[in-house]
Every structure is written in structure tokens, then in C-alpha cells.
Homo-oligomer: 346 residues x 2
């Protein structure tokens, strides 16, 4: 039964035989078999073709004893259906042709209908579930309202988020109308993944760490709260961000059974701050995977020690695995988590 998986049990803070582990971006470029497929298809083609998305989702599961799969997709996939021109330019990442800046831009955005707009995602989830045959649970995900909104405003990546904050500070009524629309999209997009068979959901608020706690409270908290309320409690939820040390309590308030932690904060301290009535995920620095395996082992042990064997810790990197990480080091880390946390030998 899937409810017996150690990843799902840890999300609910139930005792587990040993610490579950998965990696953000585990289906990705650090894997040769991913790069081979990617050489033949564009990134969006891979996302939008269920067979390809399903295949790369399970690739890391063939190599490693991971405790969860995460569907191969991109947080920007719902944007075109909202009326946003999205392209993945070669080597440049996402480019948005019509960034949102004004009340009119916001008014022009349309809600999404997942069955019409992102049917490939549902199909990919079903295919992965069949292939996994309940060996490990499958995680679905979405960008959080703030992170999606700032992508749409900036028109791509950003360093200082000048346009996002300028809209937020200068035209709060436009900001709130915009976030309201994005929030509805996120809820519909996540519910669609539950219906298709996602067994847990992660909300990525990857960029929220550029905000002060007061800004988070005023401009973000109401929307992330609505997302967690809107998707209900049928599957466990993970609330992730980076650079969020000063936002952790507010993120917990917004929702999530599990709060993601990057490496900037000592896990034990963050968990103490959050309270032990919530699970935590993290928090190895992804760059540690470039080090020697003795160093990796030592750092894995530090994270496990910091979690102290308390039920409700999911091991993960503090952010996504990088494309140039030696693949054997990823495998070594996963095995080390299991070995050091006392997994029964198979």
C-alpha cells in the first residue's frame, strides 16, 4: 500500500525504518540518459509529450534507491494557457514575450482549464504511476503564486527583481489582482495533478527569499495560504523556498505538511523555530556533491544528526541538483542517507 511508503509516512511525521531521500531536479541534465533524449527534443517537447516526460521521470529511479519520483515538468507550463508568450530560448532559459506590468496586462490573463490546456501532464502522471507500480510514490508540483508572478513580470530570470517589487510597492491593487488570478491557476493545476494520481505535491516558491518578512506577509502569504486551502488534504504537501530563514514561520502559517530548508540554516535550529508539529525537507548544500565521497558522507551525517532521528525528516538537497554533478556522487549520497539512517539491507 502506498500509504506505507517511508516518504509519505515522513510527510505525516510517522515513524519510518530509515530516512527517505529524493533530489530536486533528479530527472535532469546530470544524467547521461536524460541528455541523450534531450539532444533529440526541445525542452518543451519533452514536457508536453507524455511518453518522454514519463521516461525521464523514471530514469533516476532505475539508477538509484530514491524514495520518491517527481513528475518531469516545468513550473512555467501553465503560462501559455493564461495568455503568456513563453519560449525556452537555446541556452538562455525561459523568455516571456509579453511580461505583465499593468492593470490591462492583468485583465487580459485568462484562467486555465487543465484538461484542455495541460492534458499531457495528466497523461504523464498516469504513465509514471503504471510504470512505478507503487514501488515509490510520485510527487506533482507547481510554482507558488509569488514565484510564478515574478517570472511573468520580469519576463525571465532576474537578479534584483526590480520590476516585481516596483509593481508590488507602487501599484499594490494591480499586484493583488494579478496574484489573485495566478493563485486560481495554481490551484487548478495542482488539483488536476492529484486527480491524475500525484501522491504528494510540492509548491516551489523558489524566489521568495528576496522578500522581507513584512513584504511576504502582505503580498504573498494570503495567496500561498489560499493555494494550500484550495488543494485540501488528500495528499501531503511540501512548501519549498530558498533563502527563507526569516520567512519560515510565515511559510508554515501559509501551509504545507513539510517545509523545505536550504543549507543556509542549521536544520535543528530551523525545526526548533518552526515547531515539531510540521515535517521538514532538506538541507544538504547541492555543491557538496562535487566533493570527495568522504566529505559527502560527513556532510550527509551532519544533516542526519541535525534532524536527530525525529520522525518527519525527508532528506533532500537544499536546491536542485546541478547539471555537472558527477552522477556517481549523487548515487553515493542517496546510499549514504539510507546506510547512515539505518535502512534494512535489501
Amino acid at each position: 500500500m502506498s500509504s506505507e511508503h517511508r516518504f509519505l509516512k515522513a510527510c505525516r511525521r510517522e515513524p519510518v525504518d530509515c530516512t527517505p531521500v529524493w533530489m530536486m531536479r533528479q530527472a535532469g541534465r546530470y544524467l547521461e540518459e536524460y541528455r541523450e533524449l534531450r539532444a533529440k527534443h526541445s525542452f518543451l517537447e519533452m514536457c508536453r509529450t507524455p511518453e518522454l516526460a514519463a521516461e525521464v521521470t523514471v530514469q533516476p529511479l532505475r539508477r538509484f534507491e530514491l524514495d520518491a519520483a517527481i513528475i518531469f515538468a516545468d513550473i512555467l507550463l501553465p503560462l501559455p494557457a493564461m495568455g503568456i508568450d513563453l519560449e525556452f530560448a537555446k541556452g538562455e532559459g525561459p523568455v516571456i514575450g509579453n511580461p505583465v506590468r499593468t492593470a490591462d496586462d492583468v485583465a487580459a490573463l485568462t484562467p486555465i482549464e487543465p484538461e484542455r490546456d495541460v492534458p499531457f501532464l495528466s497523461e504523464a502522471i498516469r504513465m509514471v504511476r503504471r510504470e512505478l507500480a507503487d514501488r515509490v510514490p510520485l510527487i506533482g508540483f507547481s510554482g507558488a503564486p509569488f514565484t510564478l508572478a515574478s517570472y511573468i513580470i520580469e519576463g525571465g530570470g532576474s537578479r534584483n527583481f526590480v520590476d516585481t517589487k516596483t509593481l508590488m510597492y507602487g501599484r499594490p491593487e494591480v499586484w493583488h489582482a494579478f496574484l489573485d488570478k495566478v493563485t486560481e491557476v495554481v490551484i487548478a493545476y495542482l488539483k488536476y495533478q492529484i486527480e491524475a494520481g500525484a501522491q504528494a505535491l510540492q509548491l516551489f516558491d523558489s524566489w521568495v527569499g528576496i522578500l522581507s518578512p513584512r513584504d511576504y506577509e502582505e503580498y504573498v502569504l494570503p495567496y500561498s495560504t489560499r493555494v494550500f486551502e484550495g488543494i485540501g488534504h488528500s495528499v501531503p504537501t511540501i512548501h519549498f523556498g530558498t533563502d527563507t530563514t526569516t520567512l519560515l514561520e510565515l511559510m508554515k502559517q501559509a501551509g504545507g505538511d513539510v517545509i523545505g530548508l536550504d543549507w543556509r540554516v542549521e536544520l535543528s535550529q530551523a525545526w526548533e523555530l518552526l515547531g515539531h508539529d510540521v515535517a521538514v525537507q532538506g538541507n544538504l548544500d547541492p555543491i557538496v556533491l562535487y566533493a570527495d565521497q568522504t566529505v559527502i558522507e560527513e556532510r550527509v551525517k551532519r544533516v542526519l544528526d541535525s534532524a536527530g532521528g525525529r520522525p518527519g525528516h525527508i532528506f533532500n538537497l537544499g536546491h536542485g541538483i546541478l547539471p555537472t554533478v558527477p552522477v556517481e556522487n549523487a548515487g553515493f549520497m542517496i546510499d549514504a542517507v539510507h546506510r547512515l539512517s539505518g535502512c534494512p539491507k535489501e
Copy 2:
């Protein structure tokens, strides 16, 4: 007497008539008169020509009621004398031709002799002191050992600091030998500025926020500590970083009469955490300067309220002012700090 300046008093946590304010990068591209000069000279030429460096240092003082000047310079200026090939490529920022990666690279680095290698800096400081005629104090500065070292390793800016952390984790003995050399350069460079007439010093550890507290403690703290010990207590010192919420107590331990705070942390909480036996500087989000003046005023008031009128707060942005900020908003902010903190009308 310069010891009566409210900026210097605040550094020593003495009572002041109202809150002193200056801005990181206040001598810079947001000023038209800076851009006019810059159009005629390269960036390095501006740094290395005392008349030009002195001129741009005082430019913002002619416009605004700032409480301190900061010498126009760049944290990378000592690098060429160490044997590093440094260029400022047009529009690309600094580029380092021979990044340090190995023990041999470290062995090849040479100490600097400020009088031979950066005489222009001393001359610029003397010229500014003469022109300011003790109206406001002049701040000198340096990059901190970690931030300088990571620049030299990455060969320029970086997003994930893979090479820096790989060296740190993988070759700790090379890391420590490298930081040892950089630390000596920083001490010599800062002492030279005191001798020339700098009345306060800021140590910029701008990038240190990418580290976990344990990494900071092991790989950075010993060197920043040596810098503060090495420069002594003849002038007040400011220890600055961004993204440093989890590092603040360790940064205080390393040294500095004043600890810099970015906007990610509520000032009152950070000060409580640090203890009130140290002064603080900050912490307005630089992007607030793009908002309407009513918003700027409200945000200035929030920071002042958070400081609670306690002696030892220097108002500043949480990071440098951006080149596209409307110059009148910078002036408005400076006046608002003085007005709202009760400066006597002049």
C-alpha cells in the same frame, strides 16, 4: 572635531541628535554627473586617477545631506598587484584571466605593497579629506577575504559558487593557504587607507551569504577575525554582508563595531539576536527607491521604528543603490531619515 560627527558617534553607539544616513554605491551610476565623467574614462581609470576618484566621491555630497562619504574604489583593486589579471570588460563587469584553482596558483600569489601598488587610493583619500574639510567623515573599504577569494576563484561573478565551494570542500589545505594570503592583502590595504586618512572602514563580505553557518565558521571566520584584529581600533569598523541572517552572530564574533543588515531580516529582531553591545547599519530594501515617495517615507519610518531610537543605528540601504534609481527618490529618502528621526532644521 570629526569625532563629533553623528555617523562616527553612531558607530560607537553614542547618543546622536538624529539618525545618520549614507548609501552603499552613493558615488555611482545613478548620478548623471557620474555618468558624464564615466563616458570619458574607463572604470579602472576612474579608480586609479586620484582627481577623478576624489571628484566622484564628493559628487553625492553636493546633492544630498549625507552623513558620510565613501571613497570611490573597487574591492578588486588590490588584485593585479597579487598577480591576478583583472579587466573590466565593457558591460560585463570584472573578468579575471587567471582564476586561482590549485596549490600552485596560490603559491604564485604575491603580497601587496600599498605604497607601490595602490598609491592612487591614498592620494584620493587625502584629496577628499581636504575637499570635505571635515564636513562629514570619509569611509574606506575592502572586500573581505571570502568575497575576494571567491571572486578570484570564480574569475568573476557567479550564481552557485561551484568552484569556490569545490575548492573549500575538496582541497581545504589549498583553501586555507589561499585565504591566509588574501587576508594579509586585506589588512595591508585597509591599514594603508587609515594612514591616508580614512575615518571609518567597511569590510564588504557581500557574497558570504551563500554559506551555511558551519562553513562560515570553518572556512571564513578565522580570516575575517584576523582582519579586524590586524587593523586595530583606531577607526570604527563596519562588517557588511547580504543574506547573512544565519551568520550574524558569527560575523559579530569575527569583528566590527557595526554589523550590516540587509532587508531580509527585521532590524529589531536582528539587533536583539546580535545583542545591543554592537551597532547596526541598514536595512531598507534598495528597490523601495523605485516606489512613490509616500511608500518610501512609510518604509523609512518602519526601519527607524524598528531601530527604536536606540543609539547605534546607521541608516543605509540593505545593499548598493541601483543605477536606474530616480535620483530625486534617493534625496527624498535621505531627507526623510533626518526629518523622521528628528534632525534639527538647518
